[in-house]
Symmetry: C2
Subunit: 194 residues, 2 copies
């Protein structure tokens, strides 16, 4: 068995943040965390489209783009991952406090740095756990990372041989393995407008 | 004589960009380039205050703050300086295209990377050369850098033993050695509203 499942089951959490309806128009960071191929980027793009159509200012801070523009030279050690996420969180904060909805689809495996970014945001933070199980992610394998890990060409893959710490109290949990993309985006959109 | 003056004189340039009045309310990057102690940060703070009072969204991306939040680990080699400026320019671009006035007081000694950032901005770029002569800067010496350079504790100081390439066609040139702070800010504010 090549998959070591490092996630764990947890109860569906209650929202602990402020009602996002208060701040959506005034800027908010929507943070999508989850395993590789969980569907974060796809969700982000679909959400961006809907929010732009409503007239909001939206920026998607994609992890891969950020790694070339903002965090070049950083690797995938725990320290480098944290610094990567910290910088993206800093930029999301600058945007969200200026009326922009920053949508951030990044693995962001470690809980402590996500909590650090939540605190920086002072309420303007909506954390979504894209909780697709690793078995489903490894079948989708959008970037071929799971295959490369199996072939021994890559190590340190989050959720397989590197830890993923799921959020304890995210504002939302999405199960993309049992919902269509449209359903997931609709649920997310509703939650942001409720 | 300990100062090697690496700047040079130039004719007062004409504006080559679009009229900023078109885009001020829709986001703009105001890029303040010049030697250490030229007055960039002071000007940025005073401009921020006036623009905030007018109801604009404003972010000052200070070089020193950015070096801890965005570009930690980068040094002062030409490559590192360029990467530092490139990242700040990228963030300013994200802000300015979302309706924010990004005010960026950074030495940014090299012309080519400033031009790269100008192109990225696609018109939303207002470059201000804070053209305080090095003799005046070294007397002000807000951070004690010139003294440390003279004492041999520091090398690679822009304008002294490291090059500064003044803009060829900035939107504005400010001479803080012959104007008060209020006069300089007023001139800058007027130019942004003309």
């Amino acid at each position: 068995m090549w998959i070591k499942f490092v996630g764990y089951w947890y109860a569906e959490p209650m929202s602990t943040g402020p009602s996002p309806s208060i701040v959506l128009g005034e800027g908010l960071t929507v943070w999508l965390t989850g395993l590789p191929s969980a569907g974060k980027t796809t969700l982000a793009a679909a959400l961006e489209k809907r929010l732009l159509a409503e007239g909001h200012r939206v920026e998607v801070l994609d992890g891969d783009v950020m790694r070339t523009r903002l965090t070049k030279g950083l690797g995938f050690s725990p320290e480098d991952r944290d610094e990567n996420i910290r910088r993206i969180g800093f930029v999301a904060h600058l945007l969200s406090r200026n009326g922009v909805i920053a949508v951030v689809p990044v693995i962001s495996p470690y809980r402590s740095v996500r909590e650090e970014i939540r605190e920086l945001h002072d309420g303007r933070f909506f954390e979504v756990h894209v909780a697709t199980p690793v078995e489903v992610c490894s079948e989708r394998d959008v970037k071929g990372l799971y295959a490369r890990q199996r072939a021994g060409e890559l190590s340190g893959l989050t959720g397989v041989d590197d830890p993923y710490e799921p959020p304890v109290s995210p504002e939302m949990v999405l199960h993309t393995e049992t919902s269509t993309l449209d359903e997931s985006v609709e649920a997310l959109w509703q939650a942001l407008h409720s």
